[in-house]
């Protein structure tokens, strides 16, 4: 299936949970926040959240800023 992560298209084989995607991206879930189709996904649901064709994901973290 194709999904968009941070504005870029990606091909992923489903089924794929959000938790699995993060692992694949080697991102530590404690240090990111995720928006799925403009709704924030609570950290507790990363495992139970299945991704689907056309999903739009924003995966963010904290960086230096003023």
């Amino acid at each position: 299936m194709q999904i968009h992560v941070n504005g870029q298209p990606r091909q992923e084989s489903d089924p794929l949970s959000l938790a699995a995607l993060l692992e694949r991206l080697s991102l530590e879930s404690r240090r990111v926040a995720v928006e799925l189709n403009r709704q924030i996904v609570p950290r507790a649901r990363y495992g139970s959240t299945q991704l689907a064709e056309g999903d739009q994901l924003e995966i963010v973290t904290l960086v230096g800023g003023g």
Binding site: V5, N6, R31, A33, V60, T61, L62, G64, G65, G66
Partner: protein, 273 residues
């Protein structure tokens, strides 16, 4: 010494009236050292997309001791209310994940223009109302327009943060008269309402001037991070914040065109008395 003089913003209390940004340091180590020299307790951070490739693996979080600093997430880079609202929510989610109490507040920036990075009054007001309704303690970055500052306070901003001059311009407080009007109007009958001068500070005297005008604190980033020696400048900024705060409360002498002798004018030798 100033324990009774802590700065309160919403439920947050801080002994240091200098808030410092974490952007633009050459290295995380240098940032950590500069923050320590500044004596600040609140540091701002930005929310950005994870780089999905070649991540250095190093995170700013490894250099900000949560026991020492309260993180204040900002919505920098957002040019409309919607992006700012989404960014604020993501910041809260991130800080909750870290168990950091900074999840309760946000520094709201809705910028109007990429060249000046000055705030968009209308968009800021719109985003403020939504975030306030969602329970955020909102600190509003704004221009030095006194009416806009009042509208933001009326709409529930926990603190108003007028710009002394454009972000990173190093021009200090370009219009002290506007800042004075903001302070007088927003603090009328509400002395403890917090006004933080945010942005534009270039050197120590700029901070002292802002505090002498009566600001409750100063937020800066580039003035330290961009200095040739950020750690030394951070130290200077810390001292200037205290100096300006004390001078304000010490009651300065009035300005006069002419002189007043500091030594006695009588008893000089050679005079027939």
């Amino acid at each position: 010494m100033m324990a009774h003089d802590v700065l309160r913003i919403g439920d947050f209390e801080m002994a240091s009236r200098l808030l410092v940004g974490t952007g633009k340091y050459a290295t995380f180590e240098l940032m950590r050292e500069a923050l320590a020299a500044s004596g600040c307790q609140v540091v701002t951070v930005a929310v950005r997309r994870e780089r999905l490739t070649d991540t250095s693996g190093r995170s700013i979080l490894d250099f900000l001791d949560p026991a020492k600093y309260i993180l204040l997430p900002n919505t920098a880079g957002c040019f409309n209310a919607d992006d700012a609202i989404r960014t604020a929510r993501l910041g809260r989610e991130l800080l909750e994940g870290l168990g950091n109490r900074g999840s309760a507040w946000v520094k709201l920036e809705v910028l109007g223009d990429k060249k000046t990075l000055l705030p968009d009054p209308v968009g800021t007001l719109e985003a403020l109302k939504v975030l306030k309704a969602e329970g955020f303690t909102v600190l509003c970055y704004t221009s030095d327009d006194p009416i806009m500052a009042m509208r933001l306070k009326e709409a529930g901003a926990a603190a108003v943060m007028p710009a002394g001059s454009p972000i990173g311009s190093g021009q200090g407080v370009l219009n002290p008269w506007s800042i004075r009007i903001i302070l007088e109007q927003l603090k009328a009958g509400d002395e403890s309402y917090p006004i933080i001068v945010d942005a534009g500070v270039g050197t120590a005297s700029d901070v002292a001037i802002a505090m002498e005008l009566g600001a409750d604190g100063v937020l800066l980033n580039t003035g330290i991070a961009g200095a040739a020696d950020p750690v030394r400048m951070a130290h200077a900024m810390r001292l200037a914040t205290e100096a300006g705060y004390l001078a304000r409360r010490a009651g300065r002498i009035p300005r006069k065109l002419y002189a007043t002798a500091s030594s006695p004018i009588e008893g000089v030798i050679g005079v027939k008395e």
